[in-house]
Symmetry: C3
Subunit: 235 residues, 3 copies
């Protein structure tokens, strides 16, 4: 991908957002996009190639927000930008004249995304990539449920440190709130890792604005078998 990008736009500045998305994991891609996009320079183009449907009839989409552009497969990976970085226009990347010839069935990142990204960063009018698109595949951001005095969230991502990120936010946590995971008490929310003892599970408001379950200098996900979708209760 980098070869194709730089062959067509030698001035492109290519940044690896991360090397940590598990293969084909659309949900983790959605989380990293949501968490990262607002921090990148206006004018950035995000190329997201977490693409289990590569080579099938799934569409490749272009979109723009107020100040940034996006290329992504139509699999829901951009859904969680809603409310953070609203997409104002979406197009179907359909004009194969912009692609490498005879694209492979397994690596559209190199054969379609990269040459289209090169063209867009060189100033191609987005309307040239293809027609406006509707009916995007949606992956709804998990809803926090209320059960009496309990708020039930869900783990939405696990990072490379083994931190389990939930969909619970500061507004879901009343003063003195206590956190439970799989029937085990994690205790009150701490202000920083150093407030917990080495190896102890803790809950903390993480850098994406969500409650995270962690182990100080350890991996919560590994020790507690935490996986995306698992419920987390706050009372």
């Amino acid at each position: 991908m980098k070869g194709v990008l730089l062959a067509r736009n030698p001035k492109a500045q290519v940044i690896d957002l991360c090397h940590d998305v598990p293969p084909q994991d659309v949900r983790t891609a959605a989380f990293y996009l949501r968490a990262s996009v607002p921090y990148f320079p206006p004018g950035s183009l995000f190329v997201t190639v977490v693409d289990p449907g590569v080579g099938s009839t799934r569409r490749i989409l272009w979109a723009k927000s107020k100040t940034r552009q996006f290329l992504f497969p139509d699999n829901g990976c951009a859904s969680w930008l809603e409310g953070v970085e609203p997409l104002l226009e979406v197009r179907h990347v359909a004009d194969s004249k912009l692609w490498l010839k005879d694209p492979s069935a397994t690596f559209h990142g190199r054969d379609i995304f990269a040459p289209v990204a090169a063209a867009l960063t060189k100033g191609l009018a987005p309307a040239k990539v293809g027609p406006k698109a509707k009916g995007l595949v949606k992956m709804p951001f998990p809803v926090v449920e209320t059960h009496g005095l309990i708020r039930r969230g869900r783990i939405i991502a696990v990072d490379r440190f083994g931190n389990a990120v939930t969909n619970l936010r500061a507004q879901d946590l009343r003063p003195g709130a206590r956190v439970d995971f799989k029937g085990r008490s994690i205790g009150a929310v701490v202000a920083n890792y150093a407030q917990a003892s080495e190896g102890a599970a803790l809950a903390i408001l993480g850098s994406a604005g969500f409650l995270e379950l962690s182990i100080r200098n350890g991996s919560f996900a590994a020790d507690h078998g935490a996986r995306p979708g698992d419920p987390v209760d706050v009372s």
Copy 2:
């Protein structure tokens, strides 16, 4: 390596080709070079430091193709460029005046490859790196065998998704061809991953032009114990 390169050529644009070559795995390096080189800009210099012989008497080589340059240890890692990116001239990187002083015995990437790459990208005449070289170590690209109606290929690389890449090409596959691995039927070649069911083994023409064995949203290599050198039959 990046420090040495940028200290000597601050304008060098350094690209990490991949972080996935298993330590000392010359065959995987050969595969990635073959698969990647044609996509990179003319003028690129490829620095390949998969180098189990570091510090011994193995030579370090410079080579050029029609539009690109290469630095690599003389261990066969550039052999598979044959037929894709022919090497037109090869030299022995022998002039130690270009190297860091007192090179270590374990990290020629930093002490020899990087300073020579910096000099070449700043315009050093390649003849200055050392004399022309002959008698390169060769690692022949595996031959597809024919046994009656069966074509027998070999796995040549396993990527980070667990896809097992073979040396079989489209021309080895007759219409309706069926694929077998270790006595187990993988079935007919599919056109894209989505044609297989979740978790099922499949055969597909991959992005390097070779037949690959995969599991949709899984790892073929992990589930089937596939390793480089293993035979794959097409009938």
Copy 3:
């Protein structure tokens, strides 16, 4: 971090030093800093975010050597620069006007280190980051002990190949010196990996100037259970 850096200084050249520091491993960070810093261009700024104390009262520090700058948490990770790259001035990164607003408790790399690094690389006078700092947390470089005719060193780092790096240097090795690890003889120091047989343990002077224990085309750390702090004897 890269988004914040480039949003504030689009001309910054961002280099990933490595992706191999185990989470929260201050000692490994200290080793890579010591081993790498001297090879980077004068004018480089090193941003070290191995930071188990993030969000607590631990200080963030700025320092300069003769030709380079550093940002790091006050946890000892810069201690091993002593004797290699002496720090001439140290300041407490205290002026929150330079930071992102409302920094998180878990990702000061993005919220504090990155914007301060962007400002410094754009020419901010270092005195503006905060007041001079004293009483840094120190992590002393392990001392080589002498027991009769034996020199006892320690493993200080394990790299991604499984090489175990010790604190022993050439000056600790007399001609014909023999190396022992956990009561097992590793033999004499070899001049290069190729002098050992495939799979055999060996001792070699590594690229950071320290004696390393390795297995040719294998992992010494995995096979011998070597970990930082383990003693290594030379007789």
